[in-house]
Amino acid sequence: MDIHLRNITMKFQDVYAVQNINTTIKSGQLVSLLGPSGCGKSTTLMLLSGLYKPTSGDIYFGDKNVTNMEAEDRKIGMVFQSYALYPHLSVLKNIMFPLRMEKVPKKEAKERAQAMTKLMHIEHLQDRKPGQLSGGQQQRVAIARALVKEPKLLLLDEPLSNLDARLRLEMREEIRRIQQEIGITAVFVTHDQEEALSISDHVLLMKDGVIQQHSKPQSMYRYPCNRFAAKFLGNPPINLIETKHGQTQEKLHLHTYNQTKQILAAEQRDVTIGLRPEDLYVSSKENHLISGQVIHMETIGRDTMIRVQLQEETVRALIHPDATIQVGQTCYLGIKEENIHYFNTETGIRLTSHEGGSGNGS
């Protein structure tokens, strides 16, 4: 069942939480709604669930217009950020609850709920109350409850944000496993880019209620369609260097960078170039793009990160740990030309179009 959002707008008093969204979520895919807090991703999820009704626009589940259908009737499963397990019911009864509402016979409901506990590896917890479970276990119960009625669509609202780092990693793989095992369409809200990039088939990046980019995780990372997308994805964040049109590029050493030279010359406006820290490497005085004094250096696990002073700004680079560089030295950094991103400084929009996602495509 494909899900279509057509011109969806949601207004709270005078504030637009979601503005004129058009997108399609393909059947069987896991799609992440990604963005900073207040970007409208949770509102979009609530609109899909039917707990919110859009101010205007239509939502289709397959061919069916469900815009005005109540949440009770949409036959969806939802996992809440706080899990919202009924505290007075045992794990098994929590999972049986949606089936009881559908008037499934008690015996069958119990069997289906027990099958769910098996899938989620929580058979041994059936008789416990939610208060006696750890965060990860509660999470599993919440997913089991969402899936037990075999919904067409599973919605997850920041499901991992209440877990500690290690458990988060485990649960996100678990969510991916379950989703693929039963082949359900799932929408996953998160503000964590790593979560979104690691488990989704598609990422829908939002800002201020507007979709910025909808594409496969990798192409979103490699070809961000605007400066916001470039900045939001990647850790440490991308380096953005503004250049002024028609002036000599003091910050950049374009000696061997012919393509860059051409692009900057061809554009009749200011251009911002983006350099991902991991794409930069230590180069020679002849072939470098940028150079400056190393003002900071740290090694975290396998990565060595340096900060280089480039006039009034600093540039971060992840370099090979073996590189013999010390704080205070002048460092020459190079990058492959195809890894340089160009954005219109004024609008933030990407200049060179590559294959992969764009605004509302793919």
């Binding site: 949440a71 009770e72 036959k75 969806i76 505290p87 007075h88 509402m101």
Partner: protein, 297 residues
């Protein structure tokens, strides 16, 4: 911090308890013990405080007194009439006040007013409402072609009148407590229940009721105890009489009569002790039932 009690810390603790304890002992604990002892005085001189004989005679006497039996029956009828009605009404009103409506704050204040208004003032207003000739209630009933009722003078209607006033008076407190209870229920449970396909009725039955159960339990215990202790509403509503033909004679009113009107301190104490036992038993029963049905987080 040292968690084991030392002599010094214990002494310090007791010192903090002392002021409240002194007042409680003087005005609650001592009278309870004293009244139990007094209930066993069968022959004594209350001027000198000299007691000549102890025994269970007082208990035998009150159980043979038809008025005491009337008082017990009336009290039970009163409790059965007031408590369930009051709880159901307060629950409905508090659900309504907890929903998103206009002038919510104003409504909350209005419903709380009866609780903070003096019983005497309330009774004067209700005496007028219940008035045979000019009363608002009879006027209202006349719209439906019902003949005027002598609410406060007819023994048959005195108890219903008393129940109506008491339910109305108790609403404010119950609603306030229940509203507080309702507000502790996380909105997410309702959203989850909606997504799980629960209708409004099922959301009420499966989320609101169980999560409100500790509050309902508290309110019902307090209401039952208060119900058994009813006195001032009667005194004010029926002008210092226990209703026409003892129709609103309750146990506390009976104790009052024996103590202040007949100066039968022994009998009054025995009746008070019987009331204590009744309330105690009811509370025990409720606690046992509560363990089974009440959910605590």
């Amino acid at each position: 911090m040292d968690l084991n009690p030392t002599k010094k810390s214990t002494l310090k603790g007791y010192l903090y308890l002392l002021p409240a304890l002194l007042i409680l002992i003087t005005f609650n604990i001592y009278p309870i013990i004293k009244s139990f002892v007094m209930s066993l005085y069968t022959d004594f001189d209350f001027f000198t405080g000299e007691v000549f004989a102890y025994g269970f005679g007082n208990f035998v006497e009150i159980f043979q007194d038809p008025n005491f039996r009337i008082a017990i029956v009336n009290t039970v009828i009163f409790v059965i009439g007031v408590v369930p009605l009051s709880i159901v009404l307060s629950l409905i009103i508090s659900l309504f006040l907890n929903s998103k409506i206009k002038f919510r704050g104003a409504f909350r204040t209005i419903y709380f007013l009866p609780y903070v208004t003096s019983v005497v003032a309330i009774s004067i207003v209700w005496s007028w409402i219940f008035h045979y000739d000019y009363g608002l209630l009879n006027y209202f009933l006349s719209w439906f072609g019902i003949d005027p009722i002598a609410w406060l003078r007819d023994p048959q209607y005195a108890m219903p009148a008393l129940i109506i006033v008491s339910v109305w008076k108790g609403l404010g407190f119950n609603i306030m407590i229940m509203l507080a209870g309702l507000q502790t229920i996380d909105e997410q449970y309702y959203l989850a229940a909606k997504v799980d396909g629960a209708s409004a009725w099922h959301r009420f039955k499966s989320v609101t009721l169980p999560l409100l159960s500790p509050t309902l339990f508290f309110v019902s215990i307090i209401s039952i105890i208060n119900g058994f202790k009813v006195f001032d509403e009667i005194f004010a509503l029926f002008d210092g009489r226990p209703g026409p033909g003892n129709s609103a004679l309750t146990v506390v009113y009976y104790i009052y009569q024996k103590f202040y009107e007949e100066w039968q301190f022994g009998l009054a104490s025995a009746a008070a002790f019987v009331l204590f036992i009744i309330i105690f038993l009811f509370t025990i029963i409720q606690l046992v039932l509560g363990k089974k049905f009440v959910h605590y987080n």
